[in-house]
Symmetry: C2
Subunit: 393 residues, 2 copies
């Protein structure tokens, strides 16, 4: 009696759900402190002080109309604050009119794909990938075209070139990357820009680069990230404050469309229209106000760097193979056995929850989300030793 | 370079946008106090005191994890609070497991239609209707089947019966109604339930009644509203706190699935899955907490009753024909000229903004949203006199 497609999707998604249920079951048996749950990217840290102060200010100011509808694109004063920051970071003017506030990056991506994809058109995405991307593209009637990255999880220019077809409408990139922690280099992005231009000319099409950047404030070594608005002609940035302000439950983010993108004004109209009609209507008013008041705040990446270093050093010393993440808060580790499902089972037996790589389109690996408390990190070290002992001698 | 469908939709939607722009233009020329904008259902009143206190409490309690992800269905304690209220109001047990918190009713309806409709399946809706419904059904690949109501805007049983086809999957009702203010009577809903059973048997199909009830707390005469969970076998209630707590900008509402609905557990899984993958992820954490703290609060319908009475009495005394709204905060008035676009133009010349009936699928009428300040209501009376003078003698 329901949607056949959704019921089928439910079945394919049931594996990860089973994982979460396992976590709850283990916690009930062994207690919270004896279960090392690295399964979800749900930051354990609290938001910066500026966020708490912002909520207090909103409550006490009682400004008239605080909770009313505003423009579907969001408050102009919030969009201006973000535009100001982006203009400075990008070294080019980003007008407030090119920003639409969204209920997080997940909302932003759905709105963007619905705005640009015609049924059957392809959006290229790179494996390993954040699994939800496939749904976002599919919701808009698009088709995800998966391109494998190289052994360092960097984009392979030749594979990228080969994947572009006449029906390619979008290229989705995510850097710092979930699940690998990789940051794409300027050089590779510039090479991609050249390939896109070449292919657009060959096919007489237009290709839009959609850059999902929720981890842009969680960067460990680099002093700046590549600016996609400068590198690509037709670019859209999607962002979220879930990670940078540790507000994942509040659903706040934005879409920024490059002023260089052809007919960007028309695209903004389509984005705002879809923000409305897909049912978001507007990003939550109070959370928009919080973000504007805390616009210069961000979580300290040092908190995550410490966790990364402890886990990365421990795991590699035990014999695990893993690239050192340059950003975000995930380790994507090679499974010591070919079938990583076996490894995930072994980890589970030791009360350690990790996500199998096939959930991200790359079997033979597993993901650790290290945005958990330091106690969990430290408590897990012994468990990882026991797990390692089953595989390495 | 964008989605052809969305660009086409934009064109068809540009008329209402032009209306809003007219309002802004008029306000700039004549000043806020000389423009009578009845175009949007954006409550002018402030939320109840309980809401303001809730925000203050959240800010000062600083509970650990307040802004983190929770289950995609929302906090269990919030769902339990709502389930308790519904169980009492409906006189039957509604389990918390059958409730999913959503980013308002617009989100809830998108999530519900995506969960139940297969491509090409029909959802019956009644004219005049809230225009966004067509987009919500279309987003899920469904087809809106419009059924006209009778001269009192009540559902016509014969027309309803004739509209049900083998491909009919859903029936969308909205009571108290936007734009007419009508409340559907128990008798007509019970008649509909009988027709649905008969047609389900005839076609061997299942039909789900989706009841959009954001105005359920804004009721003028009735002491209780019909309970769709008791009347229909397969029913879903979608609700929002936009009107009942005057929080339209905050995007908070819920979907409740009847425990009598066949396989309601599976449907809840589909709804929670779609809440996640359509990009809502979860209803905003802080707003869920606000709603739970203010669960027994509601705006005073007396505020709207006063506005209704002033406008209704004035307009009918001037010669306008209009049914007296039993709920919600809209008047749906017969245009004194056949082409209501001409009337809307005349109103505009007098700084009065109303929405043409064709925006709701019923030409020859116009809608007044009277959720504005009492000053606006009173200030508009003279303007309506001048407008009336152009049509009635």
């Amino acid at each position: 009696m329901f949607s056949d497609k959704i019921i089928a999707d439910l079945k394919s998604a049931s594996f990860i759900r089973a994982m979460f249920e396992q976590g709850n079951r283990l916690r009930q048996i062994y207690g919270d402190e004896n279960v090392y749950d690295f399964s979800i990217g749900n930051p354990e840290i609290e938001p910066p002080e500026e966020v708490i102060n912002a909520i207090r200010e909103i409550a006490s100011s009682r400004e008239y109309g605080t909770h009313r509808y505003m423009s579907n694109a969001g408050y102009l004063f919030v969009r201006k604050a973000i535009a100001g920051r982006l203009s400075q970071a990008y070294g080019m003017e980003v007008p407030a009119e090119n920003i639409c506030m969204t209920c997080g990056a997940a909302a932003g991506l759905n709105v963007v794909f619905k705005s640009i994809l015609n049924p059957g058109e392809e959006a290229i995405m790179f494996a390993p990938y954040f699994a939800e991307y496939k749904f976002y593209i599919g919701n808009a009637g698009g088709v995800p075209a998966i391109v494998e990255t190289d052994e360092n999880f960097q984009i392979d220019a030749a594979a990228f070139r080969a994947a572009i077809k006449p029906g390619t409408k979008a290229v989705l990139i995510n850097s710092p990357n979930n699940p690998t922690g990789v940051i794409y280099k300027d050089e590779i992005l510039e090479k991609m820009a050249g390939i896109i231009k070449e292919k657009e000319k060959e096919y007489g099409t237009g290709i839009i680069v959609v850059s999902d950047e929720p981890y842009n404030e969680i960067v460990y070594e680099a002093d700046r990230l590549p600016v996609v608005f400068r590198i690509f002609e037709n670019a859209i940035v999607v962002n979220s404050y879930s990670k940078s302000l540790a507000l994942p439950g509040e659903r706040i983010g934005y879409v920024a469309v490059s002023p260089k993108l052809k007919q960007n004004g028309l695209l903004m109209e389509a984005i705002v229209f879809n923000n409305r009609t897909l049912g978001f209507v507007n990003a939550p008013a109070i959370v928009q106000r919080i973000v504007a008041k805390a616009i210069d705040a961000a979580v300290d990446p040092g908190i995550y760097r410490e966790r990364r270093d402890i886990l990365y050093n421990h795991l590699t010393s035990l014999g695990f193979q893993c690239q050192k993440p340059e950003g975000a808060f995930y380790l994507f580790v090679k499974s010591p056995v070919e079938n990583e499902m076996d490894f995930v089972e072994t980890a589970l037996r030791n009360n350690v929850l990790v996500v199998p790589g096939r959930g991200f389109g790359r079997a033979g690996y597993f993901r650790i989300a290290f945005c958990v408390g330091l106690d969990t990190i430290k408590g897990s070290l012994k468990a990882f030793e026991k797990i390692a002992a089953e595989y390495f001698n």
